[in-house]
């Protein structure tokens, strides 16, 4: 039998206390959204509530908890996911702690990331999954990092950290961006040879090639899962073969959002406030045409001119983004936020797995300003009524689609 799909709970930690007229009054939730909107009284205990939700995910049997790094926005209040991860190492027992990831070009020195991740791997007794990301449009404005130059900086930092975890120190690193005379981090990670490494990528073939060369896992950084998701999986599989490797589901992950309730109608009624807060406020400036969207703009993402030419040819600047959804039907189409009964959510996610054959589902349960008790109820229903079926059916699916992988797994036992 193959390994089943791994199901993780992703928390973005959005800011939930925006005024009701935020969308009318402000043109973005990113970078320039005035922080005078931060309500100190209402925000007391907010991080505690969010950490508690992740601890609950661990108790419910999710395979892990996912954190990521954002700056100066209402979408994600984790400028330092490592701080939250440190808390989780002390409050959770089983699940993986996935940091997806530290934005390497924003850090002064990759040695610091190698050190902090190694600490977290020790503090969690080997439960860290180490994600590295270059940062996208908004982050380049936030930290004044010229994104056109970050690609070589990013891969040098990744290779530096890998080497710091696997090659006995002290050694000298002769890099263009981070020349270091003494590389010798204490501690070393608990996992051998090192924590699993995940790298997000979206439109860039080059990124997939770099991931394939190094044997890392590919996280597709898209929130919508139509045909493109399957195409990305097929492209990654082809690139792996070009590098003498073979695709297996564990090598790839996707992000989606879910809300589960007793019936479809009840799920929509309960999720409505949080979902629309998320779409209209949190995605404004990121995945919404309204306002000024900083994620894909010209000169901002680190894509090469040839790739940008293709982007110009095959994209439409007027096509709606996820945050432009106006009703449940639009949302249904994007296959991004799945809302319904356990049966509905199971069927829709299983369809995505059938189509894309990815082995890691990273699911966001808390959306926008969703209330704590609703978030927890949805997580519980998902863990009890959706996850077991997904695990069972995905193991069958993967065994059928990737028989060689299943045999290899059995041989190693």
């Amino acid at each position: 039998m193959s390994d089943p799909v791994q199901i993780y709970c992703w928390h973005f930690m959005s800011y939930p206390h925006l005024p009701a007229n935020f969308d009318e009054k402000y043109d973005t939730g990113w970078v320039t959204v005035p922080n005078s909107l931060w309500d100190k009284d209402k925000s007391r205990g907010l991080y505690q509530q969010y950490i508690d939700q992740l601890v609950y995910a661990d108790e419910l049997g999710f395979d892990g908890m996912v954190l990521n790094e954002h700056h100066q926005n209402i979408y994600g209040l984790m400028p330092s996911p490592n701080l939250i991860a440190a808390a989780l190492t002390q409050r959770t027992k089983r699940g993986k702690i996935v940091i997806l990831g530290n934005l390497l070009p924003l850090h002064l020195n990759p040695l610091r990331v190698a050190e902090e991740y190694a600490m977290l791997d020790n503090m969690s007794d080997g439960r860290l999954i180490a994600g590295f990301a270059p940062g996208s449009g908004p982050e380049t404005f936030n930290y004044n990092v010229p994104s056109a130059g970050t690609r070589s900086q990013f891969w040098e930092a990744v290779d530096f950290i890998h080497r710091a975890w696997t090659q006995p120190g002290p050694f000298t690193h002769e890099g263009r961006h981070y020349p270091m005379r003494y590389v010798n981090p204490w501690p070393q990670p608990t996992q051998t040879p090192h924590p699993p490494i995940w790298i997000p990528g979206s439109r860039s073939r080059d990124t997939l090639v770099e991931i394939a060369k190094r044997g890392y896992c590919y996280f597709l950084s898209s929130r919508s899962h139509g045909k493109e998701t399957a195409r990305s999986q097929q492209l990654f599989a082809r690139i792996l073969e070009e590098h003498g490797d073979r695709y297996k589901p564990a090598r790839m992950g996707i992000l989606m959002s879910a809300y589960v309730a007793e019936t479809d109608a009840q799920a929509q009624a309960e999720a409505k406030e949080g979902v629309w807060y998320f779409l209209k406020n949190c995605l404004k400036g990121h995945l919404r045409r309204e306002g000024r969207q900083l994620t894909f703009g010209p000169g901002i993402p680190y894509i090469a001119p040839e790739e940008f030419e293709n982007f110009l040819k095959f994209s439409d600047p007027t096509s709606p983004l996820l945050g432009d959804a106006e009703n449940w039907d639009d949302l249904q189409q994007s296959a991004s936020i799945v809302v319904g009964s356990a049966e509905t959510v199971y069927r829709r996610i299983m369809a995505i797995l059938d189509n894309s054959k990815v082995g890691n589902l990273l699911i966001q349960f808390h959306l926008g300003n969703m209330r704590d008790e609703l978030t927890r109820k949805s997580m519980r229903l998902f863990a009890n009524e959706v996850a077991p079926r997904l695990r069972q059916d995905s193991a069958r699916l993967f065994a059928r689609e990737f028989p060689g992988v299943a045999r290899a797994a059995e041989m190693s036992k």
């Binding site: 990092v145 994104s147 000024r292 010209p298 940008f308 439409d316 007027t318």
Partner: protein, 286 residues
């Protein structure tokens, strides 16, 4: 008017040329040839009536290869190599926008090569309280297609036909879109990271640029505020004048092509280059 591509120590450099006579090197900006237009514009053609205009495309722009790294020192060295390769020991130099910054640096570092210097809406200076506009933020369209704030950064009249022609809403001409992207990319290599399109040391070094110089600024330049023009005028030891153009923004060469070209012509007429025939060894043959 012609266009050629040369091999400069293994990397390609695209050069647009026009006219005859004394060499005049033109370093382009954003709203300019190579930055958005594929070919020389009316401004450059008018400038080329009395000179041999040589307008290289910056690395990565309009057919030139990228260079890496690509900070101001790398660009200066790139252009010194180009001038040596083109056997240009001494020439008139005109720079606009980011090209103006490069021109000012060249003039301060290698004054012997620059006969007469003209800066048009040049960035490059740190002027307290007068920051350079954030072209990267303004280049991100609103609602996916609306480029009004980019036009407002570059033109005195953002709603005018000229601004709409070169920076239209929505998906425009593919070649022009790609050129704009390449120019932004070049700009981000050079000027995104702090210092933001400036070099703090430049101001104190400008005294070395002792050649006759002219500073031209749009009164409504919102990309590089006119205060920068005043500082250039003060810091350049022999600046003859500071010409501030009414009803003109940052894209002066598009907005006032005849006026800007004529100002440069008059400036050159008033300051004949006495060293024009001095022998010069560019030093690369040794």
């Amino acid at each position: 008017m012609s266009r050629r591509t040369i091999d400069l120590n293994g990397r390609m450099v695209a050069i647009a040329e026009a006219g005859h006579g004394r060499p005049l090197v033109y370093l382009h900006g954003f709203a300019d040839v190579h930055g958005v237009a594929g070919e020389l514009l009316p401004f450059h053609q008018r400038l080329a009536r009395h000179a041999k205009l040589i307008a290289p495309a910056h690395p990565g722009c309009n057919g030139s290869d990228e260079i890496s790294p690509c900070a101001i020192d790398d660009i200066i060295f790139h252009y010194l190599e180009l001038f040596d390769n083109e056997l240009l020991p001494r020439f008139d130099l005109v720079g606009h926008c980011v090209g103006g910054w490069i021109a000012a640096e060249l003039a301060a570092r290698h004054p012997e090569r620059v006969a007469r210097l003209t800066l048009i809406g040049a960035c490059g200076l740190f002027v307290p309280g007068e920051p350079t506009g954030d072209i990267f933020m303004h280049a991100q369209p609103e609602r996916g297609t609306d480029q009004n704030s980019l036009r407002a950064l570059l033109f005195a009249e953002p709603g005018g036909a000229l601004a709409q022609r070169w920076f239209p809403d929505g998906r425009g001409d593919l070649a022009e879109e790609l050129r704009r992207y390449q120019m932004l990319r070049f700009g981000s290599f050079m000027g995104f990271k702090p210092p933001y399109f400036y070099h703090r040391e430049l101001r104190e070094r400008l005294y070395r640029a002792s050649m006759p110089s002219l500073v031209i600024w749009g009164a409504h330049d919102r990309m590089v505020p006119p205060a920068h023009g005043a500082v250039y005028y003060d810091a350049l030891s022999s600046a003859s004048s500071l010409a501030t153009l009414n009803h003109t923004g940052h894209a002066a060469v598009l907005e006032q092509p005849d006026r800007v070209a004529d100002l440069i012509r008059e400036f050159h007429d008033c300051h004949p280059d006495e060293l024009a025939d001095m022998p010069f060894d560019p030093g690369v043959q040794s």
